[in-house]
């Protein structure tokens, strides 16, 4: 349904691990998958045993691709070994972080890779049931996955006694119906239980008390897609693809003001400048870069002076931002940063589930303030008020949505303060005036 060429333009800098099968003819079919190493990792995992699989995952330095960047093997190891309760694997396919569109091609072009990853996760933690929680808008992908799951059952890769291993595993898709908050793992679990997607208090963490009160691991699509490769080729190989403590590759989604927008699989730690200039082909119409959102709209923004940074979790943390979900947005010199802040806040105010007061009230307040400021009715204290309100959300909510609203706002106000002051001074947006003047001169 999406145009392969328009998303996967390709680049000589790519290192294709999880996207390696995307371009094969009939890439979604189980026969194609089996002809290209498919389900071989599962067979190997059955020989290794659960403990060894978890260790391999830990040592691979694979970190959660949904945004939090927690060591995946470590997360799996938190699931209690001795328990009478059933355990669950939940794949988070609720991809909704603005600027992120990487799980889409993973499901669209190689659904069996994800299925194999989920079965391996289930085997490792001793779960016999998996759910793929997929956002409601991705209906066509649910259909792709449903077909692939049916194929896997028919060939004995799902169901009872998988390939004579004695291991049973059931898997099905579950559709959401529009709610960004459900991408947060505890809200997702409530949603999976048929409730509103409100977050839960942690601890207990889902690994101990997850869906139906049972031990559960929740992993992002891209995270799980990496598991078969780690099992098959080993932790050392995988860790070696990236930078220390940041194993593997990453699907980066380049969007916004960039000549070649698309999804590219690059090694962890790939330099941002090179990503923009050489992979993405630079900024259109010879414009200068003003700012970059490095990993989805929840991350603190970078200025054009901050792009000499390796794109891994630790390097971005070091400069006060985040690698997040891999959504990299380029913003050119003609863009009003107040308007960017305003649009980002409109999103969080809309998506705040309303459970925690600082987030519910704070995002609405910030939205009103930024609307007013951009609209020309701002007053001198507004930029400082924006910071004050943001700091009163930060760290004061159950789930990270509050932080996700505060962090980009703080970074934009601090790094582009003069634009805010200019709006107040002029009583309006200087960029809109400039473009109106250009129009009039024509």
């Amino acid at each position: 349904m999406s145009d392969y060429q328009s998303y996967m333009k390709g680049s000589p800098f790519e290192v294709k691990v999880i996207s390696a099968r995307f371009s094969l003819p009939d890439s979604t079919s189980i026969d194609t998958f089996l002809a290209h190493e498919g389900y071989q990792a599962l067979a190997k995992a059955f020989q290794m045993g659960p403990e060894a699989v978890i260790n391999e995952m830990k040592n691979s330095q694979l970190r959660g691709r949904g945004g939090a960047g927690f060591n995946t093997g470590l997360k799996w190891s938190f699931v209690p070994k001795q328990t009478d309760k059933p355990k669950y694997v939940v794949c988070n396919a609720d991809e909704s972080e603005p600027a992120t569109c990487k799980d889409r091609p993973l499901m669209e072009y190689d659904p069996h890779q994800l299925i194999e990853g989920i079965i391996i996760a289930g085997y490792a933690i001793g779960a016999h049931q998996g759910y793929i929680y997929i956002r409601g808008e991705y209906r066509y992908l649910m259909e792709v996955l449903d077909r692939a799951i049916a194929e896997a059952y028919a060939r004995g890769y799902l169901g009872k006694d998988i390939q004579g291993s004695g291991f049973d595993f059931e898997l099905c898709t579950h559709t959401g119906a529009g709610a960004y908050e459900c991408g947060e793992e505890t809200a997702l679990l409530n949603s999976l239980e048929g409730l509103r997607g409100y977050p839960r208090v942690k601890p207990p963490f889902p690994a101990v008390v997850g869906v139906y009160g049972c031990p559960t691991i929740v992993n992002n699509v891209e995270t799980l897609c990496n598991a078969p490769h780690i099992v098959l080729k080993g932790a050392e190989w995988f860790a070696g693809l990236g930078t220390p403590k940041n194993g593997g590759t990453r699907l980066f989604c380049l969007s916004g003001h960039i000549n070649r927008p698309g999804v590219y699989e690059l090694p962890m730690g790939f330099p941002l400048r090179k990503m923009i200039e050489e992979v993405g082909g630079g900024i259109p119409r010879g414009k200068k870069l003003k700012s970059v959102i490095p990993g989805g709209s929840s991350c603190p923004l970078l200025t054009a002076d901050e792009i000499d940074v390796p794109m891994d979790f630790d390097s971005l943390a070091k400069i006060g931002s985040m690698l997040g979900s891999g959504g990299v947005v380029m913003i050119d010199e003609d863009t009003c940063m107040v308007k960017v802040a305003q649009r980002i806040m409109k999103f969080y105010a809309h998506e705040s589930c309303g459970w925690c007061i600082p987030c519910r009230e704070g995002t609405a307040w910030l939205k009103r303030l930024l609307d007013r400021l951009h609209g020309g009715a701002g007053v001198t204290g507004d930029p400082d008020t924006a910071l004050d309100v943001s700091y009163n959300i930060l760290g004061k909510t159950l789930c990270p949505l509050g932080d996700a609203a505060a962090m980009p706002t703080i970074s934009i106000v601090k790094k582009f303060r003069s634009e805010f002051d200019e709006h107040v001074r002029l009583g309006g947006c200087p960029y809109e005036r400039k473009s109106a003047a250009v129009q009039a001169a024509r």
């Binding site: 600027a99 808008e137 099905c172 409730l195 509103r196 927008p261």
Partner: protein, 159 residues
């Protein structure tokens, strides 16, 4: 009346979970796909099948943005204006749709053919600006492409 196909789908979906109420949101969406909106009858039927009170089903409807109680147009144009789309003209696409159809956010044309909605990120960022018509993605939009799309949809409705 809910169709037999829908009822048998209900049974199939409910069987996937150890707790029946897990099926509420999928069932609501599947019912909406068939009926066009979520009717009182659908709420009653779903509540009965998953063994909850109708009010618990209604609570969910109020939370999830894709679920709606009122009929909407045959084609629901959902235009993304989030950051990646905004930078490349998503707001202009929304405005163009609005002028062209004579309706605003969450409104429906008098002939019941089109609804318009400004939506949050659809996950089509590398094909910005983008929209969804019902479940179908349309990407790299321009006002001209939108005009052609609307004509195509009208023609499809006449068939």
């Amino acid at each position: 009346m809910l169709s037999d196909t829908l009822i048998s789908k209900f049974d199939d979906v409910i069987a996937r979970y150890p707790l029946k109420r897990s099926a509420i949101v999928p069932l609501l969406l599947f019912a909406q796909d068939e009926i066009g909106h979520i009717s009182d009858e659908a709420i009653e039927e779903i509540a009965r099948r998953v063994e909850v009170l109708p009010i618990e089903v209604i609570e969910d409807i109020g939370y999830y943005s894709m679920l709606h109680r009122q009929p909407i147009g045959k084609f629901n144009l959902q235009v993304c204006t989030n950051v990646s789309c905004q930078l490349l003209g998503g707001e202009e696409i929304l405005e163009h749709c609005s002028k062209r159809l004579g309706i605003g956010h969450k409104q429906t044309t008098a002939d019941g053919l089109f609804s318009l909605e400004e939506v949050e990120c659809l996950g089509a960022c590398c094909g910005a600006p983008a929209m969804q018509v019902n479940y179908d993605f349309y990407e790299n939009l321009t006002p001209e492409r939108v005009d052609r799309l609307i004509e195509d949809l009208k023609a499809r409705a006449e068939k």
